[in-house]
């Protein structure tokens, strides 16, 4: 694992030692190379995990998320170029350093073997993200958004620390690899119910669960483009990853503790989708759509069947790439119209036809058009929830319908219709932007050829 972590750390000196005109190209190329190295992790020859050391390991669940993380850094760098073009050199370097630091921490989080080190790294990712949001955001509301982001996540995750210490006392180890062999059921007591809550709430806030999701739209709307991308693509998935990991040792509490959260997710999924139908703010719409998709992941994880785990893993990867691409597209609109309001960007298809094609593809993957991996994820989740309870198909079906509606509503409002006068003099789309979209789209398309590498450990 060090062969990925150390090069990522070395990105920081590279940034600071690069010449002024080379910082972007150097870092982008170098991080792209790192992501190519990480691809080898997808080959998991044995059914167990790849143990590299006492500290780090990788298995079919963490490998796709890890690859997604490394893949996203060059994309973030490409996306931020225009946003930072007016900043002085030193701040650009600082910004890249922050992104790299976040990347390093995320890689270590996904590969940590110890729950405690996972926890520490999980918390540590907050720091660079907070700096990115509050330092490089566009409006003054960013401070408020940062506050929400920090406090929601911290409040959720502090009980986890206590829970972890108590588990350490109970079992003597917090090693992921050992815990799966520790098959004792937790005794049925009040304290264990609180243990369950403490363990799950940290990740449910991060996902976010409906009701605890307020920080997400705020953070997304105020964050700079790279912040939105990494937030939607990776940080939300930390929650899903943590839940998938920690539910193995919370039996049998999950079987009855899951009900309120399942209900809340199923309900919240429809609520947030309907909020999307009334959004005028593009980034807020995408953020709410993330909440709705992540609710599916929560449902899948709580149902706890092999199919639902496969669905959750696939959906996390698919949604990571799709929502990140949507944010990039929203940003490319923002850089031209200087507004996030959708109606002000209408009719862009006439002026930027290639960008319209990307919009179309992104919307179609967002609404889970077969055979994209988004569909595979959603379909598996729907299948497992149907077998859990037949009635959920009504809620799931409603959500599928609303998802299609708001995705296409977004497409029609931004791309179709008559164009407005103030966009007469906009810049054409750059090769950089088209490459950025292509780099999002290609993995989505290629993965649908062979989805089994992202189906997680129950495949």
């Amino acid at each position: 694992m060090l062969k990925i972590i150390i090069p990522t750390i070395m990105l920081m000196p590279l940034t600071w030692l690069s010449k002024k005109n080379m910082i972007w190209i150097n870092t982008t190329t170098y991080s792209l190379l790192i992501s190519l190295i990480s691809l080898s992790l997808l080959n998991q020859p044995s059914n167990n995990s790849l143990n590299f050391s006492l500290m780090f390991f990788s298995d079919p669940l963490s490998a796709p998320l890890l690859v997604l993380t490394t893949w996203l850094l060059p994309l973030m760098l490409m996306a931020s170029q225009h946003h930072l073009s007016k900043e002085p050199l030193i701040r650009k370097k600082l910004y890249i350093t922050m992104l790299t630091m976040l990347q390093t921490l995320l890689i270590m989080t996904f590969t940590a073997t110890e729950l405690i080190s996972f926890y520490i790294l999980f918390e540590a990712t907050l720091v660079p993200t907070l700096i990115i949001i509050t330092r490089w955001g566009n409006q003054t509301e960013r401070l408020n958004a940062g506050l929400y982001f920090l406090f929601y996540t911290l409040m959720g995750s502090l009980p986890l620390l206590v829970a972890l210490i108590s588990i350490q006392n109970l079992t003597g180890s917090l090693n992921f690899l050992l815990i799966q062999y520790w098959n004792q059921a937790l005794p049925d007591s009040w304290s264990n119910i609180f243990l369950w809550l403490a363990c799950m709430m940290a990740f449910m806030v991060k996902m976010p669960l409906y009701g605890l999701h307020l920080w997400l739209p705020k953070a997304h709307v105020e964050a700079p483009i790279a912040g939105s991308m990494v937030l939607a693509a990776i940080l939300l998935k930390l929650g899903g990853y943590g839940m998938l990991r920690i539910t193995t040792m919370l039996n049998p509490q999950t079987s009855f503790m899951a009900y309120p959260f399942l209900m809340l997710s199923l309900w919240g999924m429809i609520m947030t989708s309907s909020i999307c139908l009334r959004q005028t703010d593009l980034k807020s719409l995408i953020a709410y759509s993330s909440v709705s998709h992540m609710a599916l992941v929560i449902v899948a994880v709580l149902i706890q069947t092999p199919w639902s785990y496969m669905g959750a893993t696939a959906l996390m990867i698919a949604h990571g790439l799709t929502s990140s691409m949507l944010f990039c597209l929203a940003n490319s609109n923002y850089e031209r119209t200087h507004s996030r309001t959708m109606i002000l960007a209408r009719g862009l298809q006439t002026l930027l036809p290639l960008m319209a094609a990307w919009w179309l593809l992104a919307s179609l993957t967002n609404l889970a058009l077969p055979p994209s991996i988004n569909l595979i994820g959603e379909l598996f989740v729907v299948m497992s929830s149907f077998s859990w309870s037949n009635i959920t198909i009504i809620l799931m079906g409603t959500n599928i319908t609303i998802t299609a509606l708001y995705s296409l509503y977004m497409l029609i409002t931004t791309q179709r219709g008559k164009y407005t006068h103030h966009i007469n003099s906009i810049k054409p789309s750059f090769t950089r932007e088209n490459a950025l979209m292509a780099l999002h789209m290609t993995p989505l398309l290629l993965l649908s050829l062979n989805p089994k590498i992202i189906l997680g450990f129950t495949y």
Partner: protein, 604 residues
């Protein structure tokens, strides 16, 4: 061996798309290239079809193993049975003609290349749908045709109406998809497979739930009553799109799905009678709506809807082969009717109102001929294409022991078919011209003439050929009294005469006060007025007021972040603005100290 030729012809279709990826084509010739490819694919597909008719050998081809999840194996597999073997050449033939027609109709469009790519992509997804052997592959085609219809309806994206219609189509299709996904989930859960032949082999009991799902899916895709309004709205798209998607191919996908699942359906009487009633309501309701429309494309769209209802009725009386026969014959004349109306609309400078046409039989003799033959075939006049399927369907319904009420509705709808067909002929073709005097009418374009001519020949002869090649065992030989045999023809002729007489009689009368019956028909049974206003309004205001404002902005915001910060603020204000009352503070310390001392000591 011959069945692999079918795959070759399917593969051929992807070649123009591939060439567009590698940019090895010229823009000006690309549409011709697409048209030729489809004609070659059609000719290639004829060989395996003929061999199939000769030998009757059904094939399943499984070639690419996609993935195996737990116990479910998914691979790329094609089912080449009677239905797909006959439908593929028919669809290719119709598409070929429509592509040629589009060369004429869309020639001034700057994005004609893209238009052809869309049409071709649609055709490919339709072929996937028809030939799929497992539900997942079927779903790919199913969603693919839905999305392509979205793109093609919204082709003129500057128009609000086109965008609305496109979104409407997706909405109704998606409601149907819920049913499809539910059926998929049920089959996975109960039969542990998505392969069609395995599902039929296991023949699960209690199939109400999945078949209801499939019926819902068919209702959405084939615009049956309840989910029907998208089909007339879809006429916002270009006429070739209406001809291809919304009459001959995409909309029959729902019927096709039910035909595919007839091995399960034929044992389930509940679903069958549901299907029958649904079809009967649709066919009558849409026929009534068609009667008073003035937009020529809307009339033909409602007539399509009515015919789809007839197909569903046929499935309801447990005759999937007849329904399939009607799908095939319907494709020919309905596509042709749309192309004729396209020819008229184009010549009259985009005038779609039949009240502003008239006398076209002098100006456009060829279009007139085709339109009349198409209408006659639609009404089922003997020995034209429509006769072979429609007459059989009504005879079978007449002689079956089913719901007499549904049967009566179907018969009335059949009669109304003749009535609205007469109306088109009467208003558009006969009488005095009512269009603007200076429109340049020209129908002498080889693309137009050839494409319509090909379908014209199909509309006369195709029914004979296809019905001759249907399995003799599947349609029972029927004997019936003469009056029953002549019922279908009699109601049709009745419709014709009545409509003609009424039109002649009322031609010069003025409509002072529209009656409530007229309003019902003209406003589409008030269905769009009600369903497109109240539920969306309720839904959107719910999402705005309840979900967004009440829950997100007020409750969730207040309960957690705001109340906590308020609390902190209050306490810090309370504590930091102390008044310097040192004595009082020390006194309070004293009290707590004493209390804790006492408590700790008592504990010992």
């Amino acid at each position: 061996m011959f069945s692999s030729l079918m795959l070759v012809s399917l593969l051929m279709l992807t070649l123009p798309i591939m060439s567009s990826i590698f940019n090895t084509y010229k823009n000006s010739t690309f549409p011709h290239h697409v048209k030729n490819t489809i004609s070659y694919a059609f000719i290639t597909s004829l060989i395996p079809t003929m061999m199939f008719i000769h030998s009757g050998q059904e094939t399943i081809i499984s070639n690419w193993h996609w993935m195996t999840m737990q116990t479910l194996k998914l691979s790329l597999s094609f089912k080449l049975d009677y239905f797909s073997m006959i439908f593929v050449p028919v669809a290719l033939f119709v598409t070929w003609s429509i592509m040629e027609f589009s060369l004429w109709y869309m020639h001034s469009d700057p994005y004609i290349t893209r238009f052809f790519k869309y049409l071709l992509t649609f055709l490919i997804t339709m072929m996937i749908l028809v030939t799929a052997n497992n539900l997942f592959q079927l779903f790919i085609g199913w969603e693919g045709v839905g999305i392509m219809s979205f793109l093609l309806i919204g082709w003129w994206y500057g128009r609000t109406d086109a965008n609305t219609a496109a979104l409407q189509a997706i909405l109704y299709n998606r409601i149907g998809d819920i049913g499809f996904i539910m059926a998929m989930a049920w089959f996975l859960f109960n039969t542990n497979t998505w392969d069609l032949q395995q599902i039929f082999m296991l023949d699960p009991n209690l199939t109400n739930l999945p078949l209801l799902g499939l019926l819902l899916a068919a209702t959405g895709k084939s615009a049956q009553f309840g989910l029907h309004p998208w089909l007339p709205s879809a006429m916002e798209g270009p006429t070739p799109v209406s001809a291809l998607l919304h009459s001959s191919t995409m909309v029959v996908a729902g019927v096709f799905l039910l035909i595919r699942f007839h091995p399960l359906m034929e044992n389930n009487k509940t679903i069958q009678s549901l299907t029958l009633c649904l079809g009967a309501i649709t066919t009558l309701f849409t026929a009534i709506c068609a009667l008073t429309q003035n937009d020529i494309k809307k009339i033909i769209a409602f007539s399509t809807s009515s015919q789809l209802g007839l197909m569903i009725v046929t499935i309801g009386i447990n005759q999937p082969y007849l329904a399939f026969l009607h799908i095939c014959t319907h494709a020919f004349f309905k596509a042709m009717l749309f192309m004729c109306s396209g020819s008229i609309i184009h010549s009259l400078n985009d005038e779609q109102d039949i009240r502003k046409m008239g006398g076209l039989f002098n100006a456009m003799p060829f279009t007139t001929t085709s339109l009349i033959i198409g209408s006659l075939a639609l009404t089922g006049i003997p020995f034209l294409t429509g006769f072979y399927s429609k007459d059989l369907i009504i005879e079978t319904a007449n002689t079956s022991y089913t719901n007499a009420w549904a049967l009566l509705m179907t018969l009335i709808a059949t009669s109304l078919t003749a009535a609205y067909s007469t109306r088109i002929i009467f208003f558009a073709l006969l009488g005095q011209p009512r269009f603007l005097p200076l429109t340049s009418i020209n129908e002498n374009n080889p693309f137009l003439i050839n494409s319509i001519k090909r379908l014209l020949i199909g509309s006369i002869f195709a029914g004979f050929f296809i019905s001759n090649n249907i399995y003799p065992t599947t349609v029972p030989e029927m004997t019936m009294p003469t009056y029953m045999k002549l019922t279908a023809l009699a109601v049709t002729i009745l419709g014709f005469t009545l409509a003609l007489e009424l039109s002649l009689m009322t031609h010069n009368l003025k409509l002072e006060h529209s009656t409530s019956v007229f309003k019902f028909s003209n406003l589409l049974g008030y269905y769009p007025t009600i369903m497109h206003r109240l539920p969306p309004l309720a839904n959107l205001s719910m999402s705005q007021k309840s979900a967004s404002l009440l829950l997100d902005s007020i409750w969730l915001e207040n309960i957690l972040p705001k109340s906590i910060s308020q609390f902190q603020m209050k306490t810090s204000i309370l504590i930091s603005t102390q008044k310097g009352q040192i004595k009082l503070y020390f006194l309070s310390f004293l009290i707590t100290l004493t209390l804790s001392m006492l408590l700790f000591n008592l504990h010992e």
